[in-house]
Amino acid sequence: MEDPVQVRTSPERRRGLELIPRAPISTRLYMALGVASFAFILAVWSLLTYTGMLDPLFLPTPTKVAAAAFNLLAYHGYLNDVIVTVFRVFAGFFLAVLIGVPLGILVGTYKPIEAMVEPVMAFVRYMPASAFLPLFIIWIGINEPEKVAVIFFGSFFQLVLMVATSTSSVPQELVEVSYTLGTSPSRVLWRVLLPGAWPAIVDNLRIILGWAWTYVIVAELIGASSGMGFMIIESQRMLRTWNIIAGIVSIGILGLVADYGFKWSRSALFPWAD
């Protein structure tokens, strides 16, 4: 007997890249596509440079950049610059997290605290940290604390607002149901809001760490004598384009590693979350 309503639900044409909105793909295909897009960028870069279409001073070849990276690491103590920069990023980021996460949680939980804190945060947030650089140099000097301050200033206010949103996004029904199960208002924060908000807060941290990286380079472009940003600005003075690109790519690699670290720890820490 034949089914009168034959809806074509797929199996036949599963091969190839059929674009169905939000349809999942295999891990292998996912990785292959990711590698392919890097390969594509590299291919375009190679095409533009090896063929001589672009002046090497304008855009050096991939081999030249790879050689520059090796040279920097081997003979110019670039690893030390990397360590200095990573330290600055983590110091500023860590300070921002240490104060910003608890404050954001309180803002997202208690309306009076929100009323006090949020308008100020929203106001300061729009002041670009880079514009504060000259002020910080006057106030703090050009040593490590100034670099850390720029990163802190650039990430803290955003972080507070993001964590507040994440905390207040825990569904009100869960709060209500906990009340009907005997949770007291003073315990709801610990029993419901915090456990519910953690995965979103980890996502916030991941995004803010990216910003901290942006600000560290900004801080190192002015009044620094070490760090990845310092190397970049020095190379500009010497017109060593290959070093600049090596520096930018190494920042990208570190960022990528941190990003995957966060993604991995999120799914390891919160297996229950989507």
């Binding site: 569904p171 869960l174 009340y179 009907t180 199960l181 005997g182 229950w272």
Partner: protein, 262 residues
């Protein structure tokens, strides 16, 4: 449980909404009462007032002689939306209330094991809610409410989001659980069949402002199973209820659909 002259009005978008008007209702111990009405009649509002989640504008609710001021573990609630804590396993969800009461881990474990057995979720103790179907989630929610040993169980269209087959199985399951535990149950629904099948009394509510229009005593013998639904007596009750609801639904629609659900 006594609902005494409860009146509720609130502002919504600058308009005054008169949700409930002088509701008087007494629910006897261990009774199963269904609140039946068209959407927007304030039945969920009434349930939330009894639960202590919102305060009445006038009147009061007494549970076990004490006036309801806030939510509390003596009134367990189950909502239509799945309200399991997603970060807790099935077992941990069920133990949430006992843990708040300070019951020892080994006693908690006994309690959760018993209710996992009752709602038929053995083998899923350590699953997270995201791995469960809608029907399973609501079974956990019922078990979680019962594990706290409340005197009253308040259910707000708990099976409203389930498919018809799952829904009727869940109704039988809830009746079983009720017969075993003998809690007082107040069950909000807009489904006439569901109300008559489960309840001792069906309280039919009118459209906004919500009033009690009629109370139907369902004289069908216990224990009821799905075959009851096709018996003549059942159909007679259904005819009465459908007529009442229809009247109210027509009224609501002519009032305009702009007011939304309460």
């Amino acid at each position: 449980m006594v609902v005494d002259g409860v009146f509720k009005a609130y502002e919504s978008g600058g308009r005054k909404v008169h949700a409930l008007d002088r509701i008087d209702l007494t629910v006897r111990d261990k009774e199963f009462v269904a609140l039946l009405g068209p959407s927007g009649c304030g039945k969920s509002t009434l349930l939330r007032i009894i639960g202590g989640l919102i305060a009445p504008s006038a009147g009061r609710v007494l549970v076990g002689g004490a006036e309801v001021k806030r939510p509390g573990p003596d009134r367990g609630m189950v909502f239509q939306s799945y309200t399991l804590f997603p970060w807790l396993t099935v077992r941990q969800n069920i133990e949430f209330g006992p843990k708040e009461k300070g019951i020892s881990p080994s006693d908690r474990s006994d309690i959760s094991s018993r209710y996992i057995e009752i709602v038929g979720l053995k083998g899923f103790e350590d699953s997270f809610p995201k791995a469960l179907s809608g029907g399973m989630k609501q079974r956990v929610a019922i078990a979680r409410a019962l594990a706290n040993d409340p005197s009253v169980l308040l259910l707000d269209e708990p099976f409203g989001a389930l498919d018809t087959q799952t829904r009727s199985l869940m109704q039988e399951l809830l009746l079983d659980v009720w017969e075993q535990s003998h809690k007082t149950i107040l069950f909000v629904t807009h489904d006439v069949d569901e109300a008559i099948f489960m309840a001792d009394r069906v309280v039919v509510m009118s459209a906004r402002p919500g009033r009690i229009k009629k109370v139907i005593e369902v004289g069908l013998p216990r224990s009821r199973d799905y075959q009851v639904r096709t018996e003549l007596a059942f159909l007679e009750y259904k005819r009465i209820a459908v007529d009442l609801i229809r009247e109210e639904t027509i009224k609501t629609m002519s009032l305009g659909a702009a007011s939304g659900e309460a």
